[in-house]
């Protein structure tokens, strides 16, 4: 019987500091044992642990198309994330996964897709975007709306520059309040979503802080997106990741096994989801 509570080892291959205030770091991990390598799809998550310090769930930010690494972006906010931020390249960490479900990339095939993200929650959206760009011919028009409080708080800044150069991808970047030298959009994600004239026949994936999700979903309805074509990823405190420890539930659904990806249609049936 597989013991899903026991993590396998991965090595910190590269660390990127994402923001000047150093609260956001990205960790590229490489497999220590090749046998541990697993298949996953964008939207799934792992339990990331440092033995003796604890374990926390993070969405996988790398795409399955990126061989041999797993990428996680971690906001320094609690005791485990603090310890993760102390990691150095070469250190060993524990990983359990892949856990949860994924964005329905199969349904997206041949269709237009809109990705809407906020702040450091762009992680699994990066996975999705890189995955679709890796299989570019399988998908129609790809549009991204990405907002952050200020220009410093976008993650994957170097990649954003590359994405901006592409002609097979429309990227709308926005910050909450005007900043000198910022020549892109200004305004909260829900407002910008309304303004950039999205095509409601597309599929849409939204991920961000709870408050952003809450106010963006109704805007999508207003534009004309049907509930079953809007997907979002939810977060709750988690421990086991396999539907037993009982804390990540929203109604009868467990975010760890029934989610984290839910359609707006499903979310509307669960009173405490948003």
């Amino acid at each position: 019987m597989k013991n899903t509570y026991i993590p396998f080892q991965m090595k910190v291959k590269k660390i990127y500091t994402e923001s000047p205030d150093r609260t956001l770091k990205t960790f590229d991990l490489s497999y220590v044992n090749k046998d541990d390598k697993f298949n996953f799809l964008p939207g799934q998550f792992c339990e990331f642990s440092i033995l003796g310090k604890g374990e926390s769930p993070f969405g996988i930010a790398s795409s399955p198309t990126e061989e041999d690494i797993l990428k996680f972006t971690v906001n320094r906010t609690g005791s485990v994330t603090n310890e993760i931020h102390y990691l150095q390249e070469g250190d060993i960490v524990g990983i359990r996964g892949p856990l949860g479900n994924w964005y329905p990339v199969e349904k997206f095939k041949g269709q237009d897709v809109v990705i809407i993200g906020g702040g450091f929650a762009f992680t699994t959206l990066r996975s999705l975007l890189v995955y679709m760009l890796g299989h570019r011919k399988d998908y129609g028009k790809i549009t991204v709306v990405y907002g952050a409080r200020n220009p410093d708080l976008f993650i994957y800044k170097d990649e954003i520059k590359e994405w901006e150069k592409r002609d097979d991808l429309t990227l709308h970047l926005t910050i909450d309040n005007p900043v000198k030298g910022w020549n892109k959009l200004t305004g909260f994600v829900p407002t910008v979503t309304k303004e950039v004239s999205l095509d409601p026949t597309s599929w849409c994936v939204v991920c961000g802080p709870p408050i952003m999700i809450k106010y963006t979903l109704p805007v999508l309805t207003e534009i004309g997106f049907p509930d079953e074509k809007i997907y979002t990823s939810l977060e709750r405190r988690m421990k086991c990741g396999i539907g037993k420890c009982g804390r990540c539930n929203i109604g009868s659904k467990y975010v760890c096994i029934d989610g984290p990806v839910f359609s707006y249609e499903e979310i509307k049936k669960i009173p405490e989801a948003l």
Binding site: Y5, I6, G52, Y254
Partner: protein, 341 residues
């Protein structure tokens, strides 16, 4: 049905101990609980519903998931003998079936193997459960609401009735049948004694309060989700979590590391949805920050969510929470209130 004389009970347990680690109801300080017994003399068959439920045999309050050193991680070795549990009551044997749904699989998932809990499975799959009939149920018992009863056999391997002179055994599962076939008890219960069981059953059932029709409980809990009734229900609750700790079906747990440097262990510990920090995220965001939300969660998990996922209520009517609640919050009253709302 076969029987042993009460005078043969200690010998029966001693024989059982040869092949099993035997757990049974005992006094444990001021409390009562199921513990691994050294001697048959420790067993107290007068104890009805132990204060702490027997879930702790399979799912202890704290359990080491693995130890780690520089060399790697290791699951602690457990004793090889299978468990035999003497003297469980119907409310507890039924709870094991429910917990086995949670730990043995997970709802709605295709890849079931990774969702099996090896710690639970190893202990539960090989255990032998003796269900002792309750001749005199407590005033707090309401197993009959959930189609259980003092003489119900669900979830047991061997059903046992205590009469004045004997213990009468009936095999319920194949495992129980095999055990009774092999255990060399040859004396059959007489027709008179079997009739006596019927009489004891009727008497026992007369101890229970009237059965409440809970068929509307599932739909009703959903309907009243946003009603102020939850504030009324939660008003008494002090969020101490005692109900969850004594409950035979509550299974929420926390995972925590203990260690320094390269040596330590990862442990799981009972937790409760009654506690504020249960759902509090590192960011400070807490989806169930209010007491009302937490009480509603507990009631909904028991009487709605579990039904949604596993097709039954996560409650066996053992009444332990009724007894232990320091605020006298009686779950039976809560159920009645919801049904009649």
């Amino acid at each position: 049905m076969i029987k042993i004389k009460k005078s043969e009970f200690n010998k029966f347990i001693e024989n059982l101990q040869k092949n099993y680690s035997v757990f049974a109801p005992v006094k444990d300080g001021k409390a009562t609980a199921f513990k691994k017994i050294k001697s048959a003399k420790d067993i107290n068959n007068k104890i009805l519903n132990t204060k702490r439920s027997p879930k702790e045999i399979f799912f202890p309050q704290s359990e080491v998931l693995f130890q780690y050193t520089e060399k790697g991680m290791e699951v602690p070795k457990r004793e090889e003998k299978p468990f035999a549990i003497w003297g469980m009551r119907n409310c507890d044997t039924k709870s094991l079936l429910m917990l086995d749904k949670v730990f043995g699989e997970a709802h709605q998932m295709p890849k079931k193997d990774m969702y099996k809990d090896p710690y639970w499975k190893k202990k539960y799959d090989n255990c032998l459960v003796f269900n002792l009939a309750c001749n005199e149920p407590l005033s707090t018992c309401f197993c009959n609401w959930f189609d259980g009863g003092p003489f119900d056999k669900t979830g047991s391997d061997i059903f046992v009735v205590e009469t004045d002179e004997n213990y009468i055994f009936e095999a319920v599962s194949d495992k129980g049948k095999n055990f009774l076939n092999d255990c060399k008890i040859t004396e059959n219960a007489s027709d008179k004694e079997i009739k006596k069981i019927e009489k004891l059953k009727k008497t026992a059932e007369s101890y229970l309060s009237e059965k409440e029709d809970i068929s509307s409980l599932f739909s009703k809990t959903k309907e009243i989700w946003e009603e102020p009734i939850w504030d009324e229900i939660a008003a008494k609750c002090v969020n101490c979590g005692a109900c969850a700790f004594v409950c035979p079906t509550c299974h929420c747990f926390d995972v925590s590391d203990e260690g320094k440097g390269k040596k330590g262990k990862r442990i799981r510990l009972w937790d409760s949805c009654m506690f504020t920090i249960f759902t509090k995220e590192a960011s400070g965001h807490n989806p169930r920050s209010q007491s009302t939300q937490r009480v509603r969660q507990r009631v909904m998990h028991k009487y709605n969510y579990f039904m949604d996922n596993y097709g039954e209520h996560l409650c066996t009517g053992c009444g332990r929470c009724v007894i232990i609640c320091p605020a006298n919050l009686d779950i039976r009253e809560v159920i009645k209130k919801i049904i009649r709302y």
